[in-house]
């Protein structure tokens, strides 16, 4: 009797599964482009892709995370049409075609109930290098500072290193989380934690510190008063063509750029307004 099941499996279920697999495979490859890379750019790319698809019936844009380096690698090996990067291209990567689609500010975040409102850039550096270890020294409660940083190789970490730390090293005692969201989660849960994330991803549970008296707002970024800013790139293997080009054109359009600045990014169309 048991043999009957095995027979049925090979006669019916196996071919059906095979057919299903093949048909699903065909559907995926039918149309559309893949955008892969930085987890910082991902939520914005998803938003843009949704907007783009609502205008262009029948187009499909698949957005995946994975990290800046993975995205760039994917473009190079033609696994993705567009790579997202939250850092500038390095070394051999420079042979790829990169377009800045927007600029993003990095905010230094603390728990919403932390009494500290702002720090100078030097103080931020001293906190993250482990020279200042208690909130008391910064006008807060008497409690050790819990540092939260991104992992080695992350675009956000690289930008933070360049813009804030300079030659100094981030303390090895810092907790390491592998996404903006995870850092936000830890900081939101711990009144003595401090971390850094994309400005666009701030929510009501965390508070962005003023840096040297300047609040990280779109206005201050556009007027170049807030300096912790880095580019968001789309990376292509050669000049973009077809669907990829049409998506890029959409992303660079005033409409899409307005959408991005509404989400907290800095549009590339914005001009520095005096002051």
């Amino acid at each position: 009797m048991k043999n009957g099941y095995i027979k049925a499996y090979f006669k019916w279920i196996f071919p059906i599964l095979l057919l299903l697999m093949v048909s699903v495979g065909c559907q995926r490859s039918k149309a559309g482009i893949t955008v892969a890379g930085s987890t910082s750019v991902e939520p914005f790319a998803e938003l843009l892709a949704e907007e783009y698809m609502s205008h262009h019936q029948g187009s499909h844009i698949y957005v995946q995370g994975g990290g800046s380096t993975a995205g760039i690698e994917a473009v190079r090996s033609h696994a993705a049409n567009i790579g997202m990067s939250s850092r500038s291209l390095m070394g051999t990567e420079k042979s790829l075609y990169a377009v800045t689609i927007a600029k993003d500010a990095i905010a230094i975040i603390v728990h919403a109930k932390n009494p500290v409102e702002g720090l100078s850039l030097v103080k931020v550096r001293d906190v993250f290098s482990g020279k200042i270890i208690n909130w008391k020294e910064l006008g807060g409660h008497d409690h050790p500072i819990i540092l939260v940083t991104r992992e080695e190789g992350s675009g956000t970490r690289e930008a933070f290193q360049k813009l804030v730390m300079g030659e100094e090293e981030i303390s090895l005692e810092a907790l390491v989380q592998d996404s903006n969201g995870a850092i936000r989660q830890v900081v939101a849960g711990d009144p003595s934690a401090v971390g850094y994330i994309s400005l666009g991803l701030i929510n009501e549970k965390v508070k962005a510190l003023r840096i040297s008296g300047v609040e990280p707002s779109v206005k201050n970024i556009e007027s170049r008063r807030y300096h912790l800013v880095r580019p968001f790139l789309f990376v292509f293997n050669g000049e973009p063509t077809g669907e990829a080009k049409s998506f890029l054109d959409f992303v660079m359009s005033p409409e899409a750029q307005r959408l991005l600045s509404k989400e907290g990014l800095v549009s590339i169309l914005s001009k520095p307004s005096g002051g």
Binding site: T69, E151, E169, D178
Partner: protein, 284 residues
Amino acid sequence: MKLEIKEKIIEKIFLLIALSSILILGLITFFIFEEGFPLILKLGPKAFLFGEKWIPSKDLFGIFPMIVGSFWVTLGALFLGIPLGLACTIFLSELIPPSLGTLLRPAIQLLAAIPSVIYGFWGLIVLVPLIRIYLGGPGLSILTGSLVLSFMILPTIITISEDSLKALPPSYKAGALALGATHWQTIWRVLIPAARSGIVASIILGMGRAIGETMAMIMILGNAVQMPNSILDSARTLTTNIGIEMGYASGDHRQALFATGIVLFFIIMALNILAIFLSRRRVD
């Protein structure tokens, strides 16, 4: 005659399918070594294994803090998990009223079916704040990781050691009881020592699971690359080092992660061989 040929062909096809699973293992091994080994040679095994600084942006690849981290987290998990697991096993196999067994056994097996990301999430939301508030530190710590891991290795320890207790000849128990030993004396002095090899094997397999766990540990351990000084400090294990940095790594950094995999590979291999060896040495 024709039937015989047909059978031979089917036999060969099955052999091929069985071999393919070994082939996959071989391929994985080959690629890990191919990617990671050059870097170990370049740095020197000593600098790689016992280096205390992991700063890939400065070409410093020392995984000693991770080895220490893995060691402490696993030890903590065993410290909490072994007494709990053994108590559970004894209760399940000897003391339980039959009606409760039908409920408890599936429940323990369900513990193994929960995805590790759920354990991680639960630890992060429930245990981390408790430990931060009542014991201090960041909450994301070795203690929290060990606690969660000890739950995760329970099903492994319980099911395998219960099997080894069940496999004992009934004459052991009958003989001990006939000689006037109480039920508890029989369990403690006769059954447990007799099933010792199976119980030790279950612990070693649990240890392998603890060392290999990645997702939950990324969420709970805090992943700081430091030599931990207390169980309330954050730590990074070998697996989380790979998991957390894979996405962005390139060049030497990427190779260093594969090399971390080689170290893990040897640890897990050694544990599994030990477990097989111990469980083969049956009671005489």
